[in-house]
């Protein structure tokens, strides 16, 4: 559905998202955020959704201002890159409601701003565990778009999951693509050395890297690079059903239906739901600024099993692990576990 059709439904409350340069179909959080608005619009006929994709970082501010002048009820911005622009706008317009995805502006708390962040290392941990359990070759792999926290937090949790599996099952499943090193995880320092594409668009690189991992023995790969992940799917397709992909950000079997067969599971970030809720709340007038942290506990991050082949026992284990992570008895910090 395009904005035109959505917009044509006569609504009074305008929900607006300023996407990053990736645009509304980046197979990543821009898409998820846009989906959130659309769901909200479907749910509450009073809401109309519209988006503006940024041509460059320099167009964040004008885009936000354009939406402010269009009288948007809430303006959703996406990604830490919009941190500055959003914070400034929020301070300048205290009554304007904002929600920013994946970032806590390190700017003075301002009245209308809701920061949405997600402890994705929690569900990544589950992903890592499942990958380790499902791997036939005893090697799994991950790679990222760029060496930045929103990406490495996933890879970090993934490794933690694998190591936890090794420790408790006394196995030696190896992870390629991310070797965590000391760093204050709480402060968002997910240090380590790993494999990166250098951008979030180059699918060809995604495929090259993934087939490389396959060659090095991995049979499950966890790409954390938005659209680049499609390259991993291509690699898996090419080698038949022996290799599979752990999808990221959104439920692969929902977002990338066509490729569902190659997904073993999805490590999701509840951008869509949290944005959707924020918008609905704003429309109802129950919007609360401040910060929201998606966790397994509040369903803000979730692990989906996409593959029917996952044994029930494993599903059960994941349940208990989830409980453990929620209660904090299980740490998602890989450096807490011995290297398998």
């Amino acid at each position: 559905a395009t904005t035109v059709s959505v917009a044509s439904a006569a609504g009074k409350f305008k929900a607006c998202v300023v996407t990053d340069t990736g645009g509304i179909n980046d197979h990543s959080f821009n898409a998820s955020a846009w989906a959130g608005l659309q769901n909200a619009a479907k749910q509450d006929k009073n809401i109309t959704a519209s988006y503006l994709s940024s041509t460059s970082s320099a167009s964040y501010t004008p885009n936000i201002n354009k939406f402010i002048s269009q009288g948007c009820g809430i303006i959703v911005t996406v990604g830490f890159l919009m941190d500055g622009a959003t914070a400034t706008a929020a301070n300048a317009h205290p009554n304007q409601k904002f929600a920013i995805v994946d970032d806590v502006p390190n700017a003075p708390k301002s009245h209308g701003l809701l920061a949405l962040t997600y402890d994705t290392n929690q569900d990544a941990f589950l992903g890592g565990y499942v990958a380790a359990a499902m791997s036939k070759t005893g090697v799994v792999a991950t790679y990222g778009g760029a060496d930045i926290p929103p990406v490495t937090i996933y890879m970090d949790g993934f490794v933690a999951g694998v190591r936890y599996y090794d420790q408790h099952m006394h196995k030696h499943v190896k992870v390629l693509g991310w070797t965590p090193s000391a760093g204050n995880r709480a402060k968002g320092q997910f240090n380590g050395k790993g494999t990166f594409v250098g951008n979030f668009t180059d699918q060809t690189a995604g495929k090259t890297i993934t087939s490389g991992f396959f060659a090095d023995g991995a049979d499950i790969v966890f790409p954390v690079a938005g659209g680049v992940g499609l390259g991993s799917v291509a690699a898996a397709q090419q080698t038949g059903k022996k290799h599979s992909i752990m999808w990221v950000d959104s439920d692969g079997c929902f977002a990338e239906k066509a490729d569902c067969a190659y997904f073993i599971g999805s490590v999701t970030k509840g951008v869509t739901t949290s944005v959707q809720n924020a918008v609905l709340a704003a429309a109802k007038g129950t919007f609360k600024p401040g910060s929201y942290v998606g966790t397994l506990a509040n369903g803000g991050v979730q692990f989906y099993f996409d593959s029917p082949t996952v044994p029930a026992s494993l599903k059960a284990t994941v349940q208990t692990l989830t409980k453990g992570i929620e209660s904090g008895t299980i740490s998602v910090d890989p450096t807490k576990y011995p290297v398998g």
Binding site: I24, N25, K207, I209, G212, F213
Partner: protein, 430 residues
């Protein structure tokens, strides 16, 4: 500006360059021997394996792993490189110098791999999968070769085709849509061929009929098509996602041949597009340099007036070749889609231009272009996959290598690239 380069080169006496290259090679060799080789820790060893990733069509005959003492292997390889350098210096090779540089590059790459994969060592991967490197890089290489062939077809007839990137994009988009709709790569290929040919025709039409600047038109066709593609992507493909969910083409293994270790998986267990590419390379080289058609094309590209004077229609020849070139690039786009899947606007990520570069320093010959594309393909593959060997180089720097290598090599080709004399120059009878 080749003329400018040439006139600049004239003043310089040729020997200087040979010397420089020679010493460069020697230095690299010494570095390999002592920089990487000596003192790599407690008697480490490196292992080469040859099993391909995909054995869906039955594995090739097994080739036992090859385990080498890292230190000595590196010293040996280094020595080989030094020898190459020495040869250049002693025999004052002017022509052969570049060949030696190429050999050096290959040997050095092997050395890097041996060094990176040493065990005990930092690498998470305890071996180098030689076959996988070749198979993996074959994908990128194939795409680039399609592009270079397209460039060669056009420029040999005297028309610069900078629009390859756009033709790739067009072929990819159309191919992917048709495959999504019909699940038939043959139809997709036809579609890509047509769109490529159309874009070729547009270039030809503007450049030949209206004598407008070929480089302008080329660049602009690319920007235009890039814009069009991403417009189309968000305006049409997003609402209708099942126009963009084709599968990737499956490999057609060639029974006997694919069993040959290394060679088999690389060349005989590929998609139809790969074989088509091989055929095209042979066909284009044959047609250009053996046949009457080729003679006439080259005449048109070198000296259109002379061709016209013997009754060859310069316009027709150029139209035909530019459209052919477009078609080849279009098919290249489909091939790309066939191995890469879903379309995204940034999918071709400059491959069209890189192919052009490859064509230039392949000296407008299919063979040269193939070499250049392979060099790029392999180095790109390694740039990404050396990362999991934990080489002590920052990711971003590592990712620069394919481009740096290309620059280095083209710098080595001192003034020796000589485009078809009439390349890029509009032709008018009066």
């Amino acid at each position: 500006m080749t003329t400018l380069a040439a006139s600049a080169a004239k003043v310089r006496q040729p020997l200087g360059r040979t010397k420089a290259i020679g010493w460069f090679i020697v230095v690299v060799g010494l570095f390999t021997m002592f920089g990487m080789g000596v003192g790599t820790g407690t008697a480490p060893h490196s292992t080469l394996t040859f099993t391909p990733i995909d054995v869906s069509h039955g594995a090739p005959w097994h080739l036992a792993n090859l385990t080498l003492p890292t230190e000595w292997t590196l010293v040996l390889l280094g020595a080989v490189i030094v020898a190459l350098g020495a040869e250049v210096l002693v025999r004052r090779l002017a022509k052969g110098a570049m060949v030696r540089v190429g050999l050096m590059a290959i040997v050095f790459l092997v050395a890097v791999l041996v060094w990176a994969s040493r065990q005990p060592g930092p690498s998470q991967v305890p071996f180098i999968n030689v076959t996988a490197i070749l198979v993996g890089s074959a994908a990128i290489t194939m795409i680039l070769i399609y592009g270079s062939l397209s460039g060669i077809l056009c420029e040999r007839a005297g028309v610069v085709n900078i629009a390859i990137e756009g033709q790739f994009l067009g072929g990819y988009l159309v191919g992917e849509m048709i495959d999504s709709a019909t699940n038939n790569w043959l139809l997709a290929t036809v579609g890509g061929l047509v769109i490529g040919a159309l874009l070729g025709w547009l270039l030809a039409f503007l450049a030949i009929r209206y004598l407008s600047d070929q480089i302008i038109v080329g660049v602009v066709i690319v920007t235009m098509f890039t814009g069009l593609a991403s417009y189309f992507n968000s305006w049409v493909l997003t609402p209708y996602p099942n126009l963009n969910n084709g599968n990737i083409a499956s490999n057609l293994a060639i029974p006997g041949l694919m069993k040959i270790p290394i060679i088999g998986p690389t060349f005989f267990d590929e998609t139809g597009f790969f074989y088509l590419m091989l055929v095209l390379v042979g066909l284009v080289s044959f047609a250009l340099f053996r046949t009457r058609w080729g003679l006439r094309v080259r005449a048109v590209g070198e000296h259109p007036q002379a061709a016209a004077a013997v009754g060859i229609s310069v316009e027709r020849t150029r139209y035909v070749n530019v459209i052919l070139g477009g078609a080849v690039a279009g098919v290249g786009g489909v091939a790309f889609a066939a191995i890469q899947g879903q379309f995204t606007p940034s999918i071709t990520s400059g491959f069209g231009y890189i192919a052009l570069a490859a064509m230039i320093f392949g000296r407008w010959r299919p063979s040269g272009a193939v070499a250049a594309c392979t060099l790029f393909g392999v180095s790109a593959y390694l740039a990404y996959n050396l990362q999991s060997y934990q080489v002590p180089i920052s990711t971003e720097i590592l990712l620069m290598f394919p481009y740096l290598i290309t620059i280095a090599v083209s710098a080595g080709l001192v003034g020796r690239v000589r485009p078809p004399a009439a390349d890029g120059i509009p032709y008018s009878r009066e």
